[in-house]
Symmetry: C2
Subunit: 256 residues, 2 copies
Amino acid sequence: MENSSADDGTPSGCGATAEPAATARCGRSGAQSCDRCRVRAVSVCACLDQDDLEALDALSERASFEAKQTLFIQGDEADAVYNVTCGTLRLYKLLTEGRRQIVGFLLPGDFVGLSLSERYGYSADAIDDVAACRFDREAFIAFVERKPHLLRRLHEAATHELTIAQDHMVLLGRRSAEEKVAAFLVTLRRRLTRLGASAVTIPLPMTRLDMADHLGLTLETVSRVISKLARQKVVLMVPGGLRIMDPARLERLGEG
Amino acid sequence: MENSSADDGTPSGCGATAEPAATARCGRSGAQSCDRCRVRAVSVCACLDQDDLEALDALSERASFEAKQTLFIQGDEADAVYNVTCGTLRLYKLLTEGRRQIVGFLLPGDFVGLSLSERYGYSADAIDDVAACRFDREAFIAFVERKPHLLRRLHEAATHELTIAQDHMVLLGRRSAEEKVAAFLVTLRRRLTRLGASAVTIPLPMTRLDMADHLGLTLETVSRVISKLARQKVVLMVPGGLRIMDPARLERLGEG
DNA sequence: CCGCGACTTTGACGCAGATCAAACCGGCCG
DNA sequence: CGGCCGGTTTGATCTGCGTCAAAGTCGCGG
């Protein structure tokens, strides 16, 4: 599998610069120290000073997963926590008859395993190629116990996740299909912008089915809504993603 | 409304023993120290030793709210956090055209304001009469900074909430009306049992509309599903609540 | 005791989105 | 180049739940 050249001027390695063309690749460059980490500023590690950072670095190892690979499944013994540095993960829960709810998509800078609990509460797989810092859970907890500052940061991250989850409840419980899809695109765009991507074109590495399972819809409905948005020139369909033609309009569609 | 005699041996006052007959009352007994607090064992305070508990006690004041009273609304400056000792709260978000999503019901022992952030992320009102410990937010944060143990506990509580939120996403996104109502009753029953209530009869202080706005349904649908469960003798409708006649069956209906 | 208001139940009907089905598209491998 | 495969689009039809409407219940205040 190739991973060297990107199809535009954007730096090609993995990291915070999610690429417009949605073809971001994760470098396999092996170990790389924290201070040149592209997602440090937006990650939980941002609260650590140089010394602590080195100590944490010593605990970490680089892990990479290829597209479709499963990191863990719900109920597994949680032996590791991760900090995503590149690529996209889906976190989901399954129930009978193949029903699935994707509780979130994780982007570079996001942390997996905030709860620090003994078992994973959801399953996770890589959507495209993913790179992450891996920490042994026990070791990470021991480290956190000695750094209240980091614990405070983890708590902030967890309550931020909680807020996002509650907003998503509103979406799932009380919004129409069109509002759901528009709101999804708007939030994704905001997250990418925050990561430093240009975000006029949003990469969508996940399938229509993934989006549907996140939004409480079917893949056909998602497809229809996107087609409609394209017909109305709110977005333009491009391979691997969408170009946002009328952000203001999209935003209006996304809110109640 | 009477509040003295329960229909079984359960003590009737306010606190952890949510009453079968759903007529629980919050005493107006004013200040009451932590060590005789009925919800301490299940609250975040459970992690504190005698000294710390007294220090925290000094920061707290007793607050009470009567049914339908609003504690705060989304976006308000968050000047206080609360620990519920009695009664039921609804936490919700509003959007246009009167649409509402109730993100959760809070019972005795639950904490309001886990995020410690500057503004409330949702609105809260009392469903029945509610009593709570009130802490000035700034003071509480300062206290937490000095007690990593308590921070750790708050973090656990927050991630527990997050798990609950994710489970609720599954419910909202991927379950039928009947499954939603059944699952709601099952979870509520579990929470009440944990609080020490007998839980053969579940009190439902909230209206059908409240339930509907929690489950992503209309009040008519909730009513129809409950009628159906009653027709099938899975539950029995009693004033102010439901008597669970066939818990196993209900549980089966509630899962996928 | 009556009447009012808040909530609930029940019925008839309609529609947003699910389901079923088929064609389409682009990438990959032989 | 051609056929396959995973994913997407689009159309036709179906249905679970929403909407609209009306009657029923209960507690409360006059």
